[in-house]
Amino acid sequence: MMTLQAFLIISAALFCCGLYTVMTRQNGVAVLMGVELILNAANINFVAFAHYLSHVMGGQIFAIFIIVIAAAESAVALAIFLRLYANTGSVEIDTADRLKG
């Protein structure tokens, strides 16, 4: 029987990995992967809490909503990256420096 702590530790680790990826990776698509890790960390939290603590469906439903929204967000983000690639030939974040000051 797994305990709640185990899930919380996994999700915290996943969250940190995601945040680290977002902060350090230069490739736009890799950053998106980091965001997915963060969202899935939250998903694990929601489902685990809903299972162990409260026996209402709120947590599971929230997780489903997050999955759907994450898909929508990635679709839009990938479309934008595709446009950036068509315009500049790269999706590297540090080469996108036309706007600064």
């Binding site: 995601g18 950053v31 963060i38 809903a50 603590l53 947590g59 929230f62 909503f65």
Partner: protein, 492 residues
């Protein structure tokens, strides 16, 4: 709490916007002209209808609709009307924009209306599921609006930065929500507040959750240190979209910030007009410091900007800092000051962006040097720009002064003197960079002295934006009354 069927009657403004989006798509299929004037016209009708529906349904008693997912109260109605008004002005702005080759295509309006529905729901949501959904409904169409100009690299780059920051911020917010859910076992913010008020919860996860949630909201209102996206996005996005971002999502962000933190972390003292914190988390101090840093960074960085859109981006960061002052006070008067400031800010900020748009259309640029000699080339525009800029500075007799007066007075009442001093110094810094544009318009010699023709519609709209900026500076009592009636939030 009303069930789903009974709630429908309180959801008419959102229905009107949804219907408008569907009509727009159908009309696009039926017409041949991708830039038909029918699209902005239909959007105006739809938004106007939603304003009408939002304001005629009697506010009466605050209600929780859709099984407690969405609140129906005066506070939400205020922000619905405010964001919808911003959208109306932006539709007018979009009708003649060089960046978007004349008039934008139908997608622009569809994204804007979708984002507007998100703001309606965001300012009313009382459940973290609804809150997250509407947060994303505001954000996702905004990314697309920022990247609307297909061939312009800056616009695409703005969209890319917006989406990367936005996704990360909402991700960390949702992780904070998951911790709150774990601590309290509920997704209703009222229930969360009650559970936290019992007091026997571990402090460390609570503080962590509070900070993560604040990061998400801070991103939406562009508060330092979550502001990094906003100058780039404001500069790269087409000007009408920038004007929209600078007012509407910020207003919705403030609405949800106020509703969430007051419901979850504070309870109103019976018999007095002051709230008190119900938990160990001292978010008022957190946000007071955030407010001071936000206004200081915004103002100091604005000094060295040469692009007017970028300068206004930093100035709007500074204004978010001023408004946060009212939020941290835990008094109804503080919230009233924030609401009043938003009305004032709506007109002066959109007005400034409108002038930037018209100048950009005729001079092909948005740098301060493009404003040289505007005083002789287009005197009416230059004078209105000066009015907007002085109002943004907060000089009497313009409306910005009254807005700041309300905020400052309440902070002084609550005896947080250090914050007032920082804010006053910041206003002085603001004068410097706003006056730089005014000086360029009236005293610098332009390269060409040829007059800039301003068509009738921008001229009329500028009058409509200048008038409230001037009138609210001398006769603000009705708006202040509306603001004070609108602080009633759904209580739990």
């Amino acid at each position: 709490m009303l069930d789903n069927l009974a709630s429908v009657g309180y959801f008419l403004p959102e229905f009107a916007l949804t219907a408008t989006i569907l009509v727009l798509i159908v009309v696009r299929v039926a017409t041949k002209d991708p830039q038909s004037v029918a699209f902005p016209f239909l959007s105006l009708v739809g938004i106007g209808l939603s304003i009408l529906l939002a304001s005629i349904v009697p506010a009466g008693e605050a209600k929780g609709t859709f099984e407690g997912m969405v609140a129906y109260d005066a506070f939400a109605v205020f922000f619905k009307v405010l964001t919808a008004l911003a959208a109306v002005i932006v539709v007018f702005m979009s009708m003649d924009s060089r960046e978007m080759e004349g008039r934008p295509q139908v997608e622009f309006y569809v994204f804007m209306l979708a984002s507007l529905i998100g703001m309606f729901l965001l300012s009313a949501s009382t459940d973290i599921v609804m809150l997250y959904l509407s947060f994303e409904l505001v954000s996702i169409p905004s990314y697309l609006l920022a990247g609307y100009v297909k061939g312009k690299v800056q616009s695409t780059e703005a969209a890319m930065k917006y989406v990367v920051y936005g996704a990360t911020a909402s991700g960390s917010m949702i992780y904070g929500f998951s911790m709150l859910f774990g601590l309290t076992g509920s997704t209703q913010i009222g229930e969360i507040g009650k559970a936290l008020a019992t007091g026997n919860l571990p402090v460390v996860p609570l503080v962590l959750a509070c900070v993560l949630v604040a990061a998400g909201f801070g991103y939406k209102i562009a508060a330092v240190p979550f502001h990094m996206w906003s100058p780039d996005v404001y500069e790269g996005a087409p000007t009408p979209a920038t004007a929209f971002f600078s007012v509407a999502p910020k207003a919705a962000g403030f609405a949800v910030l106020i509703r969430f933190f007051y419901t979850v972390f504070a309870v109103s003292e019976p018999g007095s007009s002051v709230w008190r914190l119900s938990t160990e988390v001292d978010w008022t101090l957190l946000f007071a410091v955030l407010s001071a840093i936000t206004m200081t960074v915004g103002n100091l960085v604005a000094i060295k900007q040469d692009n007017v859109k970028r300068l206004l981006a930093y100035s709007s960061i500074a204004h978010a800092g001023y408004m946060l002052m009212g939020f941290v006070l835990l008094t109804p008067a503080g919230i009233q000051a924030v609401l009043f400031y938003f009305v004032v800010y709506l007109f002066m900020n959109l007005g400034a962006f409108y002038v930037v748009l018209v100048v950009g259309n005729s001079c092909n640029g948005e740098d301060i040097s493009d404003f040289r000699g505007l005083g002789t080339r287009a005197p009416f525009m230059a004078v209105s720009m000066a009015v907007f800029l002085f109002a943004l500075t907060g000089i009497p007799p313009f409306s910005g002064f009254i807005g700041k007066l309300y905020l400052f007075a309440e902070v002084i009442n609550r005896q947080i003197y250090w914050l007032v001093i920082i804010a006053a110094l910041n206003s002085a810094v603001g004068l410097y960079y706003y006056a730089r544009i005014v000086k360029s318009m009236f005293f610098d010699v332009p390269e060409s002295t040829e007059a800039i023709a301003v068509p009738a519609i921008p001229r009329a709209l500028l009058v409509l934006l200048v008038a409230p900026t001037l009138i609210l500076g001398v006769y603000w009592e009705p708006v202040a009354r509306i603001a004070s009636n609108s602080i009633r939030m759904l209580a739990f």
